[in-house]
């Protein structure tokens, strides 16, 4: 607490001291503008940050005020921060389509109509496919995340396509080449869009966690375990020993739709030198889901291994999203192809200081 107080006081002191330097040379013209969206974006990030700080400090505060310590765990952060994250996602969709300084209603309609229809259609499709957002708030959050992600994706794609078409019309290139040229002309802007795209891919990956399943079972020879569309059959289990470590492992055949699709070997090692146990997880990762098989240990009474299986949908999307963010950052770091210099009209020059209103 003392550390936080010192940091806060120091920052406040330097803010007050340098206030005049921080004053902007520009002014905001409208609440519906890109500048305002940045402000709201920063506010939401600040609220999310405050929630983490508040949740971390509240047990101490509670002990001080009530004399009893409370736990502030995942349910608190999920309930408070998920809506904030959804608002951030909405701003990710809205921000790039807002014009600098002021956005007209006409422009909003023109830019948002198709992405909004696409997002709504995705929502309807998911409900038709069996998603029930009214049964649990986590399903509702998941549906909203996917819908907003589609909204962001469509806005980003529409930005590329519209810009690409304009260049294509002037240069005669195909759409893809035009979009590459477009991104090369303003790498920071279009690299940023690619980063946005990566973020929504990650968000869709997070939304899948609502449908996580897991199962734990003691499995002897030929024992079966079913989880989601998969059936795991324990083919064998054994022990091994080498100078570095001793290990116990199982051979699990994985079936899907009656067909064997993989053989996984979850293992548990005991390293002799460090006297540490380590779990070597067997993972079958696909864009649809991760089948994550853990050798948890052995039942000492029966000698059979205890196997825990997690079926986590869309995990690969999180990794793909990270690579897209890295690619977007690299694009943003590339210098622009041809910097555009527009000379200011002579009649706009040399107005007195303070003019403009």
């Amino acid at each position: 607490m003392a550390f936080l107080a010192i940091i806060f006081t120091t920052c406040l002191f330097f803010y007050v001291k340098n206030r005049s330097h921080l004053r902007s040379e520009h002014k905001l013209e409208s609440l519906i503008s890109r500048e305002s969206s940045f402000l709201f974006n920063n506010l939401l990030l600040l609220v999310a940050c405050f929630t983490v700080l508040w949740g971390t400090l509240f047990p101490v505060l509670s002990e001080w005020v009530q004399g009893t310590k409370v736990t502030v765990g995942p349910p608190f952060f999920n309930r408070v921060n998920v809506p904030v994250a959804l608002l951030l996602l909405l701003l990710t969709a809205v921000g790039p389509l807002l014009a600098w300084r002021r956005t007209s209603v006409e422009s909003l309609k023109r830019n948002f109509l198709w992405p909004a229809i696409g997002a709504l259609a995705t929502g309807v499709l998911l409900v038709a496919l069996g998603m029930r957002p009214w049964t649990d708030v986590s399903y509702f959050y998941s549906l909203m995340t996917i819908m907003l992600s589609v909204l962001v994706a469509l806005t980003v794609i529409s930005e590329f396509v519209r810009g690409g078409r304009v260049i294509g019309r002037h240069t005669g290139q195909n759409l893809f080449s035009s979009m590459v040229q477009l991104a090369h002309r303003n790498t920071r802007r279009y690299g940023g869009y690619i980063v946005h795209f990566g973020v929504i891919v990650i968000m869709i990956g997070f939304a899948g966690s609502v449908f996580n399943q897991d199962k734990e079972q003691e499995m002897g020879f030929g024992d079966k375990m079913s989880i989601g569309p998969y059936t795991l059959v324990c083919q064998s289990y054994t022990q091994d020993d080498n100078p570095n470590y001793g290990s116990e492992w199982a051979v699990m055949n994985v079936f899907k739709g009656g067909k064997q699709i993989a053989t996984l070997n979850p293992e548990r090692r005991f390293y002799k030198a460090s006297q540490q146990t380590s779990t070597m997880v067997a993972n079958r990762s696909t864009p649809q889901e991760d089948l994550y098989v853990v050798y948890e240990g052995q039942n000492l009474d029966t000698g059979k291994p205890i196997i825990k299986v997690h079926l986590n949908p869309l995990v690969m999307w999180i990794w793909i999203g990270v690579w897209i963010i890295i690619a977007g950052t690299v694009v943003a770091l590339i210098p622009n192809a041809a910097p555009v210099r527009v000379p200011a009209p002579a009649r706009m020059r040399a107005e007195p200081v303070g003019a403009g209103d």
């Binding site: 002014k27 609440l31 509670s62 736990t71 765990g73 349910p75 608190f76 003019a355």
Partner: protein, 204 residues
């Protein structure tokens, strides 16, 4: 076990209904009714009504019991996600994945027993708090001072939104400070003219 027992009961009642609708038995039953005193028919009618409604009663009971079974499992899942394992792993009770964790196994057993006993959610959670302390709850309760934990982030959000809105309004009305020799911004009709020109040029 519970489900198979109930299913068997259902089948039994279905067959008893078939007996009463058999025309031969119905005829025998009518003849018996004919020999009974005057008061008897109403009792017999009640009996028929009861026998005919038995399948419905059993079906209703089965449905409600099955629904109840689903409810119990959902309640265990819900309550188990509102509590922490107290072994020190800092995980949600139903997500503690330590093989042979003495605490989580025992606590899960106690939770299932409480739900089976028919204790309501508050009573069940209160029992755990009394036994393991307030830290067993995964999130602050919504009573007393703990309410502050829930209110504060939303309050900060609302105040922040109000403040940002006020700031934007204040910045809209303040005079623009330009460094000497800078180009002034255009406004109003002139700005719209430039916007239209840009749209026409870029076709965006």
């Amino acid at each position: 076990m519970e489900i198979s027992r109930l299913t068997t009961s259902g089948k039994g009642t279905a067959s008893s209904r078939a007996v009463t609708t058999d025309p031969r038995l119905r005829a025998r039953f009518t003849s018996v009714r004919g020999r009974l005193p005057d008061a008897a028919p109403s009792r017999k009618q009640a009996s028929i009504l009861l026998r005919r409604s038995l399948p419905l009663i059993f079906l209703t009971l089965a449905v409600f019991t099955l629904l109840g079974a689903g409810d119990e499992s959902a309640r265990v899942n819900d309550l188990g996600h509102r509590m922490m394992c107290v072994c020190g792993c800092n995980q949600i009770l139903l997500e503690c994945n330590h093989v042979g964790c003495a605490y989580s196994e025992r606590m899960r057993g106690e939770l299932i027993a409480a739900v089976d006993r028919g204790d309501n959610d508050d009573l069940t959670l209160q029992g755990f708090v009394q036994k393991y302390g307030t830290t067993v709850m995964a999130a602050p309760t919504k009573t007393g001072f703990n309410r502050v934990a829930w209110i504060m982030p939303y309050l900060v959000l609302v105040l922040g939104l109000a403040m940002v809105t006020l700031i934007v309004r204040a910045w809209r009305s303040r005079p623009l400070v330009l460094p000497a020799g800078a180009v002034a911004a255009v406004h109003g009709a002139e700005l719209e003219h430039f916007r239209d020109q840009a749209r026409k040029d870029t076709e965006i």
